[in-house]
Symmetry: C2
Subunit: 276 residues, 2 copies
């Protein structure tokens, strides 16, 4: 672990770290926000943020306006990159496949399987790394945006008991049924629809082993609505009796302006679960 | 005026506009945040933000976290670009001269004089444009960062009665006495030290026609402190009896993480003056 950036921020500190990931077999960057309580030596819970297509660890830490609320609530925020990176890592010229588009799963297909293991990275390696290097509680929660909203929902649903809470901004809720997801799932997992269903929040709801409430904000002016399908998420949760708070936000689009507008409510949602 | 971006943000709307500037003889972009009150048809005061070296109209609107406070306080925020732009506009390969480095003055020297008239643009053309296109009160205020902090302080000092309030984050307070300023002032204004002094906040304090209080925040871990010289600003204000609130912020650097951390206090400072 090497610290490559550090900035005082709302009484705490925004840092960026680089480390050699054994899971992804490449160097990875991550943003870590330490609230004032953590700097004072208190053990704080950790909230993981998963970003969307094309993002790095920078988007969330520069644009989401989360630090002020994490400072007040005593949350550590960890924002990893969206895929393995580097010259030796497979890539694709399109923005929605390969580097910057890891989809938070473990790829089984060539040429992706060698490095693209973002599920193992986020669920196992990253928390172990964070708990080794920072003074954190064992309690963790997860949220994200778009592809990262898909990641947050599917990782929470696939790992019951792991996360105290989960939320998403404009998640790709039904990747099996939309172009972004179909392209990525076919490339990373092959043609088997059963493999896709294991990484699709809407498909996972029916068999969820834990009734972890889902909090989702979605702008109704989101230019990517046909790729996101909050309607399918609502229907799946209603059918399964899975607790969902889905708020359609009038006039909001897919940008970080939307995310920042509702960041405080998401951090309060997670703080309530993490401090319990 | 053509609107090129619009995003719902904290109940208001963040917009980006392009217009043909007659003062600068080129197309210019500007960020405009309209708070909920403005969208509801209320007349709101306008707070101008001037950015630092290398910035465009994007930096402030994506990173400063100002919209949430402007929404609550009913302020319109206008953030212009930092210089004239375009293929026909003089430039320099260095980041601290030419495009992205207009220094908020009217250049008198070739090749800059043809386009580099940022003082006239910010003080005259921009408010006329804003008041024509948006429902604003006549009351305006100004603030900025680094080169833009220099701009805010010097424009307020050079145009007494024009601004209801002024503030700055890490301003280049004494450009005549530091490398950034000496390079730019020599290029834009020529060798005459008297011309430089007219665009130097520390030099202007002694002859200020108006005792407009200056609010300045400055990180004590700012990597550019030798270019900023808050010590000279403090000395000049003490000598002249000019009201100054200068807050040295322990551990903060020159970044937007610093700016965001104290944005709320600056917006409240301006709201108090603008609503008076």
């Amino acid at each position: 672990m090497e610290r490559t950036e550090h900035h005082a921020s709302f009484g705490g500190r925004q840092e960026v770290w680089t480390h050699a990931s054994s899971t992804l077999a490449c160097d990875m960057k991550l943003g870590v926000y330490l609230p004032p309580a953590a700097l004072a030596g208190e053990r704080c819970p950790v909230l993981y943020w998963l970003s969307g297509l094309t993002c790095t660890e920078q988007n969330f830490i520069t644009k989401a306006g989360a630090q002020q609320h994490a400072a007040r609530l005593g949350l550590i925020l960890v924002a990893p990159d969206t895929s393995p990176r580097g010259a030796g890592v497979a890539d694709d010229p399109a923005y929605d496949l390969g580097q910057g588009a890891g989809f938070y799963l473990n790829a089984t297909q060539a040429p992706w399987a060698a490095h693209f293991r973002m599920e193992d990275y986020v669920v196992n390696e990253l928390p172990a790394l964070v708990n080794k290097h920072f003074i954190a509680t064992e309690k963790i929660a997860i949220f994200g945006h778009s592809m990262g909203g898909h990641g947050a929902l599917t990782l929470a649903l696939r790992h019951p008991g792991r996360y105290a809470s989960v939320s998403a901004f404009a998640p790709i809720a039904a990747p099996s049924q939309v172009p972004w997801g179909q392209k990525a799932l076919a490339a990373y997992l092959g043609a088997d629809p059963a493999a896709w269903a294991r990484h699709d929040a809407v498909a996972l709801i029916a068999g969820a082993a834990e009734r972890l409430p889902l909090l989702v904000d979605q702008g109704d002016a989101d230019e990517f609505l046909p790729q996101l399908r909050p309607d399918l998420l609502r229907a799946a949760c209603e059918k399964a009796g899975h607790p969902l708070t889905l708020r359609m936000r009038a006039g909001y689009d897919h940008s970080y302006y939307f995310i920042a507008s509702f960041m405080e409510e998401h951090l309060e949602h997670h703080a309530r679960a993490l401090m319990r």
